[in-house]
């Protein structure tokens, strides 16, 4: 436990980049990023020790404040450590692009951001938690706001700040309620908080709202697709890959330790919100053209899956079958881990593409595979994983989630709950299919085909450090996908030891499927089989009898041009048609020139997919607030005499009140 202080100290040293002299700013950048890499490696190592049971927990007490580590915290520290290392390595190369643009601030705050996330997870009392949480929120706001010359960035950053503070307020409320019940703010005492049911419901609602906001669940996700494109790429990687998981950590603490999941409705709410977020998140992701917005909405989707699994576990606990909930809660941890890997990787590759071409709009890209082969390979791994294809980490978590749902259906015993599970299966199935489409579209339009604009011409492969950062994550995803057992076992071990404290023997096997049947998923075997089959196939077809003709693609007698390729907008058109009752796309066609009915006419086409939550929920609320504020302006007339009059009226009221 004390060794974590060393890692925090290194982050602190890295933060000192803020005060290095201006002429040494590049040196400051390298030194600080190096410190961030070392510190993250340290966190990774120490947390893995903790997970493997070599360190045996620990607690540091500073008066009323304390730092505690247990299995649940260690699992998330591993996520922070691994992704922190990879993204910091990448940031070494990527951050150079900010030379002369407040690079010291970027690097210093980067260290502070990582350090604050570690501190949130280590916090052993509400005060430390909230303090670190707030530092994390403010530092990430400053990082999002880094390119503050752009108007869009500033508005996105302020939206993020307002939203995140609403979340903090909700969490603060939950802590306050629990703390007033326990008469202490130490986590160990909060666990024995004795609250009347009504207050407990309110505390749960506040905690869920606060953490859901930070994890970007619908309808509290609106900041996410704006903040991620605004932030520098390695910052969005860390925010999406790691910071969202910190919210899962906090929610888990609340559920496992403070509030408990024994109320049926809690699990139901969490699961339904998760499912809806998963489905709508990926639907919006399929519509976007901005690479980082696609990834941001995909984060909404994956956090939705994580929370759906969480809700499923909570329902199983509420049904009094806690030993079966292990599958669902394992899915939460495993998918958090996998999503952190793949989302960091894809944000890094989006950053690489931006670095090379200067645009995030996929409609202007294409054919990047030849220019940046390594980045393309790593992105392929990440995209496959996000589409949850076999041999990647993304599948494992989703598979476990579905297993958890099956268990729920099997154990529920009531038709209503089975209906819910059917609904969940439909939504998760749609989510999976749409995710596949979404990432085929992202990868295909960006890296395959022919170039869609001249921006692609200047593209080049990335420097070594950036490739190492991406490569690390890609390797981890593949390793986890091919041999999921160690990761899954570790995560399950975490659950059975610390937060759930269930005797381990009750769970049979790894891939448990309710009842007496058992199913096993072993990607290594499948991979071997697939390799053998491919080899056989290659052997049979690779004889010299095959004649290959290379011809121009048939295009009704004309040469196909680059502009006739499938566009990203075109690719998602069927979806837009199928789901237009949800998406409500607004199309605008302007005929600029129309000489002939079919030929030689110029068309300006504008497609807008408004976020329904912004239009239906946030706009009206904003409208009402502004109206209320306008009404209040009546009392502010700017006349000194009127203000004195208010004082006088107040005084008369006080005197009458006192006299009665």
């Amino acid at each position: 436990m004390e060794s974590f202080m060393g890692a925090l100290g290194l982050y602190g040293l890295g933060t000192l980049a803020l005060i290095w002299p201006k002429r040494l700013e590049l040196a400051a950048h390298y030194v600080s990023m190096g410190l961030a890499v070392i510190a993250s490696l340290m966190v990774l190592g120490l947390a893995s020790q903790e997970l493997l049971g070599l360190a045996g927990g620990g607690m540091l007490q500073f008066g009323r404040y304390s730092l505690v580590i247990d299995g649940w915290a260690a699992a998330f520290l591993v996520i922070i450590g691994l992704s922190g290392t990879a993204v910091s390595l990448y940031g070494m190369g990527y951050g150079r692009g900010y030379l002369g643009a407040r690079i010291r601030q970027l690097t210093g705050l980067w260290n502070l951001f990582l350090g604050s996330m570690v501190l949130v997870v280590l916090a052993g009392d509400a005060f430390t938690f909230i303090l670190a949480w707030e530092v994390m929120a403010l530092v990430s706001f400053l990082l999002v706001n880094h390119e503050s010359e752009k108007k869009q960035v500033v508005s996105a950053a302020y939206q993020y700040m307002v939203m995140t503070h609403l979340g903090t307020a909700a969490i603060l409320m939950a802590f306050y309620l629990l703390g007033s019940g326990a008469e202490s703010f130490a986590f160990a005492d909060l666990a024995h908080s004795d609250l009347p049911p009504m207050l407990k419901h309110i505390a749960f609602g506040c905690a869920f709202a606060g953490f859901a906001l930070k994890s970007g669940l619908m309808p509290l996700h609106v900041w996410l697709p704006n903040a991620h494109p605004a932030a520098p790429s390695h910052v969005s990687a860390l925010m999406s890959g790691v910071m969202l998981k910190v919210a899962v950590y906090g929610f888990g603490r609340f559920v496992f330790e403070f509030i408990g999941a024994d109320v049926f409705a809690y699990g139901l709410i969490v699961m339904v919100v998760g499912l809806v977020s998963a489905f709508l998140g990926v639907l919006y992701a399929s519509m976007e053209k901005d690479m980082k917005r696609i990834l941001a909405y995909s984060s909404v989707e994956n956090m939705g899956i994580i929370f759906a699994a969480f809700g499923c576990g909570m329902l199983l606990v509420a049904l009094d079958r806690p030993y079966l909930s292990v599958v669902a809660f394992t899915a939460v941890l495993v998918h958090s881990f996998a999503h952190s890997l793949m989302k960091c990787l894809l944000f890094m590759s989006a950053g690489a593409v931006m670095h090379a071409t200067g645009t995030r709009n996929v409609e202007l890209l294409g054919g990047l595979l030849k220019k940046m082969p390594w980045t393309a390979a790593f992105t392929l791994v990440g995209s496959m994983s996000l589409a949850s294809l076999p041999f990647t980490g993304g599948l494992v978590g989703e598979w476990l989630t579905l297993q958890g749902m099956m268990t729920l259906a099997y154990e529920s015993g009531t038709p209503e709950l089975r209906l819910l599970v059917i609904f969940a299966f439909i939504l998760l199935g749609l989510t999976g299919a749409l995710a596949l489409g979404c990432f085929v579209r992202l990868y295909g339009v960006t890296f395959l085909g022919r170039r869609r604009s001249n921006l692609v011409l200047k593209a080049h492969e990335m420097p070594f450090t950036m490739l190492v950062g991406m490569g690390l994550e890609a390797l981890a995803i593949l390793a986890m996908g091919i041999m999921p057992a160690p990761v899954v076992n570790l995560m399950r071990h975490v659950l059975v030891t610390s937060p759930l404290a269930i005797p381990a023997g009750d769970v049979i096997g790894l891939w448990w499927n309710g009842g007496q049947s058992e199913s096993v998923f072993n990607p290594l075997l499948i991979l071997l089989a697939a390799l053998v089959l491919t080899a056989l196939l290659l052997m049979t077809i690779s004889s010299d009898k095959i004649i290959v003709h290379q011809e121009v693609t048939w295009n009704c007698g004309t040469e196909p041009t680059r502009r006739q390729q499938y566009t990203a907008t075109g690719f998602s058109k069927p979806l837009r048609r199928a789901f237009d009752f949800i998406l409500k796309p607004r199309r605008e066609r302007v005929f600029l020139q129309r000489d002939h009915a079919y030929f030689g006419r110029k068309l300006h086409y504008n497609l807008l997919i408004p976020d329904q939550f912004t239009d239906r929920l946030y706009r009206p609320v904003e409208h009402i607030m502004v109206k209320l504020a306008d009404t209040l302006r009546i009392v502010q007339q700017g006349s000194v005499r009127l203000y004195i009059g208010y004082t006088m009226i107040a005084m008369v009221i006080v005197l009458i009140w006192g006299g009665l």
Binding site: Q637, G638, R641, L642, I644, T647, M651
Partner: protein, 208 residues
């Protein structure tokens, strides 16, 4: 003491009817002098020194310095615009009477001693009338008179409730009033220079 209360009430009533600047300052002077006397009489119970210092301070600050500064200001300001109070003087007098009744209602609840009750009612009336003067008058000087009346009321209230405030507190109160009046005098002077009037309603233009 009883005579002082009657005198005080009479002066405050008169003050609500005065619209001319110089006369209202003279009223204020008389009012402060009565307060000083009350101060002296109340203090005598606690020893001569304790009575003399507040008396001297009240006399020096409120009876001499502040009215003198205000009179000097009145000589200097030139109101080019004719200012009429938009609220009839009768209303302020009526309000003062209502406040006096209100004071007696409250006083009968808080104070047992009849003399203290009279004083209490008078102070409530002074405080409220001071506020009312500030609200109902447009001219800066008259509003200042209202402020001093309010301040006198609070001072007298403190005096009868505590039967003599500690010296440090009294010194602090006087310093406060002194500074407030100095600032107000300077501000009114500046206002008269910039706006050519001391009508405070023109200040509304400053609202953003």
């Amino acid at each position: 003491m009883e005579y002082l209360v009657v005198l005080l009430l009479a002066v405050v009533y008169f003050q609500t009817r005065v619209m001319e600047l110089k006369r209202s300052v003279v009223c204020l002077m008389a009012q402060s002098a009565i307060i000083a006397c009350a101060c002296l009489l109340a203090g005598l119970n606690h020893g001569l020194m304790h009575a003399l210092i507040p008396f001297a301070l009240t006399l020096g600050v409120k009876v001499l310095f502040i009215p003198m500064a205000m009179l000097k200001l009145i000589k200097r300001i030139t109101d080019e615009r004719e200012i009429f109070s938009d609220i009839n003087v009768n209303y302020s007098t009526m309000a003062a009477a209502a406040f006096l009744v209100f004071g007696y209602v409250l006083g009968s609840r808080f104070m047992l001693d009849p003399l203290a009750r009279d004083f209490f009612a008078a102070t409530i009336m002074m405080i409220m009338t001071g506020l009312a003067l500030m609200v109902m008058r447009k001219r800066a000087i008259l509003q200042m008179c209202g402020l001093i009346t309010l301040e006198n009321g609070i001072y007298l209230l403190g005096l009868i409730i505590t039967e003599g405030l500690p010296l440090v507190v009294e010194l602090g109160v006087f310093l406060d009033v002194l500074i407030a009046v100095v600032v107000l005098v300077i501000l009114t002077n500046r206002m008269s220079l910039s706006f050519m009037t001391t009508d405070t309603t023109v200040m509304r233009k400053l609202k953003g």
